[in-house]
Amino acid sequence: MDTGLFRPESVAEALALLARLPDAKLISGGASLVAMINARLADPAALVSLAGIGELKQIAAAPGGGFRIGAMARHRDLAAESRFSGTLAVLQMAAAQIANSTVRNMGTIGGAVAHADPGLDYPPALVAADASIEIAAAGGRRQVPAGEFFVDWFTTALQPGEMVSAVHLPAARPGIGLYHKFARVSGDYATVSVALTLVREGRAISTRAAIGGCGPTPLMVAEANRLLSGDPTAENLRRAGELLQAAADPVDDVRGSAEYRRMLIPRMLARAFDEARLRAGAAR
């Protein structure tokens, strides 16, 4: 019997099912998968529901600081997560801007990152937060930095038979995390989004900026982060924007032309950075 809906109670059990049923799909919140099924873009013969796996539901503070977010954590829970202080606020802000309240009740972070739609809000936020994705495989678990997890349009580092079991956030650092999203209407996929973490280190700052909606994966450029760190000048900010702009590979679609998306990158970066620096009390 290799069709139907399976309800494993442990990650190990889920992985065993995936091994036995190569055509099975995992279902967590369903928000992405069922929409694909309704659009006839997916027609799974078997589904493995993660709903019964307790381990996947917790958002637990990690011993060394930071958090382990189970893959089944709902957008709603992350949007309401008050423990995400300092730089980690970027994730809470991103979660709060996904779709709408009803869909946030359904969707899970694991489902979203595995779906890897370039318009999603989590990927840039996770990259900016320097999060890593915990992948469970038959051989054991491994953590992949968010920046490496997202590989291409709708494509991740997940191999067949593997699943996302959790998202790990590093310890919150004093400073600011913010997520600016621009979309045609509330709840639409981002035309362009900016995820930013800004850490205050005495008089200096250290910044990580990731751009969403402008390529197959979240856009982050080390040199841009460097330019936005220390004691950045207006010129640094301008050059950082240009670097990200140059690195972008946006689509041309109904949410905006590729050229418009490129135009927005430095503009939205500047607004986000200025706001973060101001709130960090490090305004020049």
Partner: protein, 770 residues
């Protein structure tokens, strides 16, 4: 005359509210019949191709499939069309756009029907696709061969890919421009907008043992459905009965047929009831949409701001079938002058077939497009003349017995009051209303319009039941706007009875008096007046009975509140409807049935004042007016514009139900905001690129201004029921222009192309506008 029973003017919640909030209102998809099958369509993958043949074997062999229909099931002369008979129920011989229904299946379940439709093989021979009016006008390839021979209800001037052409002239346009001190010329472009009624289209058809059809469907007129199905199937109207469930919004896309004739053909073939509900994607791809306009507008004025001459030329994309398009062209041109004094006018345009889905009626019917051009240009003229845009308009608007384009008589005109009310309410001219947030620019914008509410025919029947209560029977569909309630209020007041004593009959082509349809803001005005007439007829019969019962002259009697006839000045000498009904039903005179019907007969064009060529509707009028001020904020980083506040004043003659009038104004304004800022159907080559609600966006609670103030102006039109005129469209029409004017005042950027997307505004601000 405000008796306690008075309903007119009261904020009565819609009569069917309870069933709607309890989820018990039945829409087309909610209907089930014994033995009912489910239907599904196969859509064309090509924009233009000959159909060489079909292979139905695989589909017919699938278990659960009961019937398949194709274009072969529809005989050649059986074409539909409100203005030009050019459309079969299913593609016949040819497909003319991507998504056109080519074949349909009836099966036990929707899933089987959809799978079977996919299994139908069609042998296509591709033809060149013509995707723009310019391309189509230049091409030797014809989307309809022999359009010249199609039956038409007016002088369309059809030729090749030219579907129709219309022209209005008044005065001497050339002289007008010579007499002008300044002449302004601009080009505007508008996009295709999808109706996105929340309810997708659908139909349920059933055949009785005598072979007579009953059709329920998502529609704006049971009579149009009946007429079109009769045309499509080539059977007499008497063989078809059309009914309506509740309608989940329409805005024009349910006025003309969609799948009703297809469902009917399947039901006839399967001899079982067939329900066919379109998916949202199919609804986007094959029903209809708002016309893209290309507009050239030229206006001549005196230095003191006096308007002298206006020429407007439009080019409309018709899509593959005429549908209501000739009407949209004609009406758009009729409105293109605007409600202004212009001694010299020429408004002309062409409607061109293309290989896209048909464009058709959409709230505003061409007026929002031409108003964008006219009202934007007037703001630029005011700027050039150094005048306040509202002052410039007040100097030139129609007043007193001025005539609109065409020269027909205005029976009421509250335009000036509309302008003054929104000007004063918004604090116009008193500096920035509220400061722009950092990184934003903010300004007010203004526009106005006139729009008709009288055309075609309506009837009403008022019956006094045995117990003296009343049944009101009109053929008008309530599509959500609230006409069941408004017409019942009119009836109650005309007979001075409580609203609870009026029962409203759901439209039924077997029993309801004719009604063209719920469209063009016409129901309150047209059908409302029929109701007043029918009530008056019933009143006459009531008084005749009463005069015999009270032994006094009819002239000495009057209706008194509460459903009684009394001797004038002697209220206690009265006799109730119940007593009268008893007598009329059992003893003398016969049951009281008042009926009235009329057709709007005020000529569109007075030949002594204006000339018209290719006039699709010779009798149309009864003008409503509106003016709007919007408070718009533009984001300097992204270019995104947001309407923060809006004041919309509409001259509705008389608000029969202010609560519902407000609903029409508020809903219209927000739909206009979507049209102005967000919504656009985009084609990728020949196929619609965004036929889903994921990719096609409409305003949510976050894009609609909560501070939206509807202002009701009552000019009391002598022709309307209790002075009422239409309100369905006037709220929407001026919105895009007002927003464009606000964006201009906030940023200095004048945009000539809708929608005013964030991208276009930002490019404008950065001076990189293409």
């Amino acid at each position: 005359m405000s008796a306690p029973s008075e309903s007119v003017g009261r904020r009565v919640p819609r009569l069917e509210s309870r069933e709607k909030v309890e989820g018990r209102a039945q829409y087309i998809a909610d209907l089930y019949r014994p033995g009912m099958l489910h239907g599904a369509i196969l859509q064309s993958p090509f924009p233009h191709a000959r159909i060489r043949g079909y292979d139905l074997a695989e589909a017919l062999a699938m278990p659960g499939v009961h019937a398949v229909v194709t274009g072969d099931d529809f005989a050649e002369p059986n074409r539909m069309g409100a203005f030009i008979k050019d459309e079969h129920a299913l593609a016949k011989d040819k497909v003319r756009y991507v998504g056109e229904p080519v074949a349909a299946v009836a099966a036990d379940t929707e899933a089987i029907a959809r799978a079977a439709a996919q299994a139908i093989r069609v042998d296509y021979q591709e033809l060149p696709a013509l995707l723009s009016p310019e391309e189509a006008l230049a091409s030797p390839v014809h989307i309809h061969e022999g359009v010249e021979q199609y039956f038409k209800v007016f002088d369309a001037g059809s030729q090749g890919n030219l579907c129709s052409r219309t022209e209005f002239t008044e005065g001497d346009i050339e002289r007008g421009f010579l007499e002008s001190d300044l002449v302004f010329e601009n080009h505007f472009e508008t996009q295709a907008q999808a109706h996105v009624a929340l309810e997708p289209c659908g139909a349920l058809a059933e055949v009785d043992p005598q072979g007579r059809l009953t059709i329920w469907s998502a529609n704006q007129s049971v009579f149009r459905v009946q007429a079109c199905v009769a045309e499509a199937l080539g059977i007499p109207m008497t063989r078809i009965r059309c009914l309506t469930p509740r309608i989940g919004g329409a805005f024009g896309n349910k006025m003309e047929p969609h799948v009703q004739p297809i469902a009917a053909a399947l039901a006839l073939k399967a001899k079982r009831p067939v329900k066919m509900i379109l998916s949202r994607e199919e609804d986007f791809e094959m029903v209809r949409a708002r016309h893209p306009f290309r507009i050239r507008i030229r206006t001549g004025v005196k230095r003191d701001g006096t308007f002298v001459a206006r020429e407007v030329e439009v080019l409309l994309d018709c899509g593959a079938f005429a549908d209501d398009s000739p009407g949209v062209l004609g009406f758009g041109l009729l409105c293109a002058r605007g409600p202004y004094r212009f001694p010299h006018v020429r408004c002309h345009g062409r409607l061109v077939y293309t290989n896209k889905l048909r464009f058709g009626a959409y709230r505003g019917f061409g007026n929002p497009q031409v108003s964008l051009a006219g009202e934007s240009q007037i703001d630029d003229i005011a700027e050039k003349l150094g005048m306040d845009p509202i002052e410039l308009r007040l100097k030139n608007i129609l007043r007193g017995d001025d005539r609109p384009l065409g020269g027909q008589i205005l029976t009421s005109n509250g335009l000036r009051e509309c302008v003054e009310r929104v000007r004063d309410a918004s604090g116009w001219g008193k500096g920035a209303p509220s400061p722009a947030a950092p990184g934003k620019k903010r300004a007010l914008g203004f526009a106005l319009c006139g729009h008709i509410s009288g055309l075609l025919a309506s009837g009403a029947i008022v019956r006094i039941l045995e117990d003296g209560t009343v049944v009101l029977n009109v053929g008008a569909n309530d599509i959500g706007q609230g006409s069941d309630t408004v017409l019942s209020q009119i009836c109650a007041d005309a007979l001075k009875i409580p609203l609870e004593n009026v029962a409203f009959v759901s439209p039924d082509t077997d029993g309801s008096p004719y009604n063209w349809g719920t469209t063009a803001s016409r129901v309150t005005f047209m059908t409302g007046r029929a109701v007043v007439g029918a009530a008056a007829e019933a009143e006459k019969q009531l008084k005749q009975q009463a005069s015999e019962m009270l032994e006094c002259a009819v002239e000495d009697l009057e209706l008194v509140a509460g459903g009684a006839v009394a001797v004038k000045g002697v209220p206690e000498k009265k006799i109730g409807f119940f007593e009268i009904a008893k007598r009329s039903h059992w003893f003398a005179g016969g049951p009281i049935i008042g009926s009235h019907s009329w057709v709007y007969d005020n000529p569109t064009v007075d030949p002594k004042r204006a000339a018209a060529i290719g006039l699709p509707f010779p009798r149309i009028g009864a003008y409503s007016f509106s003016a709007i001020v919007v408070d718009v904020e533009v984001d300097e980083v992204t270019g995104a514009a947001q309407v923060k506040r809006a004041w919309s004043a509409c001259d509705v003659g008389r608000a029969i139900n202010p609560l519902l009038v407000e609903g029409q104004i508020e809903g219209g304004v927000v739909q206009g905001i979507g049209f102005a800022l967000i919504e656009e159907m985009v084609w990728d080559g020949a196929r619609l690129a965004n036929p889903t609600l994921m990719d096609y966006k409409i305003p949510t609670t976050r894009e609609a201004p909560y501070e939206l103030y509807p202002i009701i102006v009552e000019s009391r039109d002598a022709q309307g029921p209790f002075g009422a005129k239409g309100v369905g469209e006037v709220g929407l029409v001026p919105v895009p222009a007002a927003i464009g004017n606000a964006v201009k005042r906030a940023t200095g950027v004048r945009l000539f192309k809708l929608p005013f997307s964030a991208e276009r505004i930002l490019r404008g601000m950065l001076g990189t506008q293409q």
